[in-house]
Symmetry: C2
């Protein structure tokens, strides 16, 4: 018998019928003797409907009042799911964020959880009830409703699991787990049995949209065992845990992430003096443009080339800013390219294996794919290439690092 | 400068545009220096939408969870109205029932208000903010959301006015006041400047749907001055207050109420023994049929005729029950009629004026209208007549008791 926190997102609770399906699944866990806390999002489309109303009223809705409106979405779902559970003879009680209470700071629309009272929930669990909690919302010190920002329900689930020291936090989604790469690009993409928090963070930030980054960080910080599962298909999903030390079987590379939403900008012949990076990136961030990769090469003639990538939507604005900076810094020239893509290999095994990056570069070279930028972290190597080579690169690397399904059988 | 509680119902806040109109009206009151607490209902249609979702999930939605769902309706409105006020430069803050807090008993779906904390609202008012409160909802001792039943927003408004000792509680509706009778029936129907709580109660229970009976009772009990006004038209509306003693000008009859939703049932030749009334009405109320008028005449031969009225929708069921009771009691015969209507004259002036009932009966007789049942209270006389005479009866009585608009001018 375990204490399990389960989170179901908007599409999983998108209709009365789906909520009934979810209730059946929860009941099965109850019959196995587990204590269950369920965290739910608003029914799919509801948050956008409410946001639409608010935007119709105010171009920039007052954050405090927007939270009052948005929080009603989950409030409807918790009551409906509790009813569905009771229909199945499964005792349940709904909790809004303030009822629990999930205490947050006062940053409306993007509040951070500070403290969670678990007394009431523990009492319900002890008395055999399923606790049905509203995700995404909390209450601040002034008694006002707060929300945690998009994807906040994942964060709520992980936070409740941490506060209740749950055995597992299960995130139900529309995929049956985390894959070695996008199955739409590589046919042989394989569901991972396990992945570490760090790898998941690198995969998530590189374009896998299974889990909110913030909830994975949170889970890592409080050592909450996460599992990603499919809402309507049975299966073990993917377990996301701490890295197990001395694990012999640790694969070198766990997955291939990629992202085609990037554009790169380069300033060439920049005087190589202190403070040049901030003088280039300062105007960019002041324009609220997020910068992803940053690469700087020092050359011999006391000038340097400076390259960074931004989201493709911000490309034109970034190009104008860089043009001005180029003049201001008396740099030689600038250019940009929005037909690029980023491909990354991710794996904690890299820490203990040399030559992983080299193997990656060789594999790409063998396919005639030119590497424009390289950026590395402890458990990841990212390269920027021409966009047209993206699929080829991903397939090549997936196979090079032996991630293909049934590869060991095929490789005679 | 006064403290005014204003209540706007569902159609008054039925769209973003209407909420903006309401906000302008509130701002005008603020500019005149008044402190304003606004109570709002869910946007029209929203409560039914939410109820529909709940009913789709559970035939008899669990009352506790139904309240969780229903209360979101007002929660959306308070935020939208607060935004609209802020748009006009009018500082405002929204309050759900639990945020105020409006403490109720635990009778979910029909909770009764027990206590209201006014500290937070008073602080907002002192700091120049409009308080925007969700009607219809509260919180019980277990921290669960409760609702007050249909029309509960009127009750919330009156309760807040009582708790804050407001100068006036204004109920905005789709009519510009309380009329001497339905203007659709009598062209000369006149808006009343004033009416007493007791008269309003008799008018409301007899078919005028301007105010919820419960809120009028509540207002009378706590001596809250009520005013009924039109949401989108300017005008003084109708003031509902305590009866002023020794008021010479008190009209004898204030209004003519009527109701065509009734049906009557009669058992004739019932043995006139103790307990006969309960033996006739007991089976009816056990079938959850509400009885309105009850009349019993004693005749000489030790039997009696017993007549009562029910809602027309319950007529067939009531007739079957009465048929059985007739046999059980060994009564002579039974019959019924669902083509009847009830007409009542209402007025506190009756207390001090004799002959009012006689004047009513004579006026009806002069038009050849036969009276089937008579029932009286201290400030009301009701008669049941054939339905086809309803409009004629109402017009006749309206004119007989000099309620017609400009009647004094006409009567030369």
């Amino acid at each position: 018998m375990a204490l399990i926190v389960q989170k179901f997102g908007g599409t999983s609770v998108g209709s009365v019928e789906r909520i009934q399906e979810i209730a059946k699944k929860i009941k099965r866990f109850r019959s196995e003797g587990h204590d269950i806390v369920v965290v739910v999002s608003a029914m799919s489309g509801e948050t956008n409907r409410l946001l639409g109303l608010a935007n119709e009223m105010q171009q920039q809705p007052k954050p405090e009042e927007l939270d009052v409106i948005l929080s009603t979405g989950e409030q409807v779902t918790i009551a409906l799911l509790s009813m569905a559970l009771e229909n199945l003879g499964c005792a349940a009680r709904s909790y809004t964020g303030w009822q629990i209470a999930i205490r947050t700071d006062s940053h409306h629309n993007k509040a951070r959880i500070q403290e969670i009272d678990t007394d009431a929930m523990r009492k319900d669990l002890a008395e055999g009830r399923v606790v049905v909690a509203a995700g995404f919302q909390g209450i601040d010190d002034h008694g006002r409703i707060t929300t945690l920002g998009r994807g906040g329900s994942d964060t709520t689930a992980v936070a409740l699991a941490a506060a209740l020291t749950a055995d597992e936090c299960q995130i139900y989604t529309d995929v049956d787990g985390v894959y070695t790469t996008d199955p739409r690009v590589v046919e042989g993409a394989r569901r991972l049995e396990k992945i570490t928090f760090e790898e998941m963070l690198e995969m998530a930030s590189l374009g896998s949209k299974v889990l909110q980054i913030r909830s994975v960080e949170f889970a890592g910080k409080y050592n909450v065992t996460l599992r990603v599962l499919h809402s309507f298909q049975d299966g073990p999903g993917t377990l996301i845990t701490l890295e197990e030390p001395n694990q012999m079987e640790q694969p070198v590379v766990s997955g291939i992430a990629f992202n085609r939403d990037e554009a790169k900008l380069t300033i060439k012949g920049v005087p190589d003096i202190p403070g040049v990076a901030s003088r280039i990136l300062g105007p960019v961030s002041r324009a609220n443009i997020e910068v992803d990769m940053i690469v700087q090469n020092v050359s011999a003639d006391q000038t340097t080339d400076f390259t960074f990538t931004v989201h493709r939507n911000d490309y034109q604005r970034a190009l104008e800013i860089v043009g001005q900076t180029c003049k201001d810094l008396d740099a030689r020239e600038f250019d940009g390219d929005n037909k690029i893509a980023k491909v990354s290999i991710v794996g904690v095994g890299m820490r203990s294996h040399a030559g992983v990056a080299t193997k990656m570069f060789e594999a790409l070279a063998a396919e005639g794919i030119n590497i424009q930028i390289i950026s590395t972290s402890e458990i990841k190597v990212s390269v920027v290439i021409q966009e047209k080579y993206l699929e080829l690169a991903v397939r090549t690397l997936h196979s090079t690092f032996e991630l293909d399904q049934g590869q060991s059988v095929k490789a005679e």
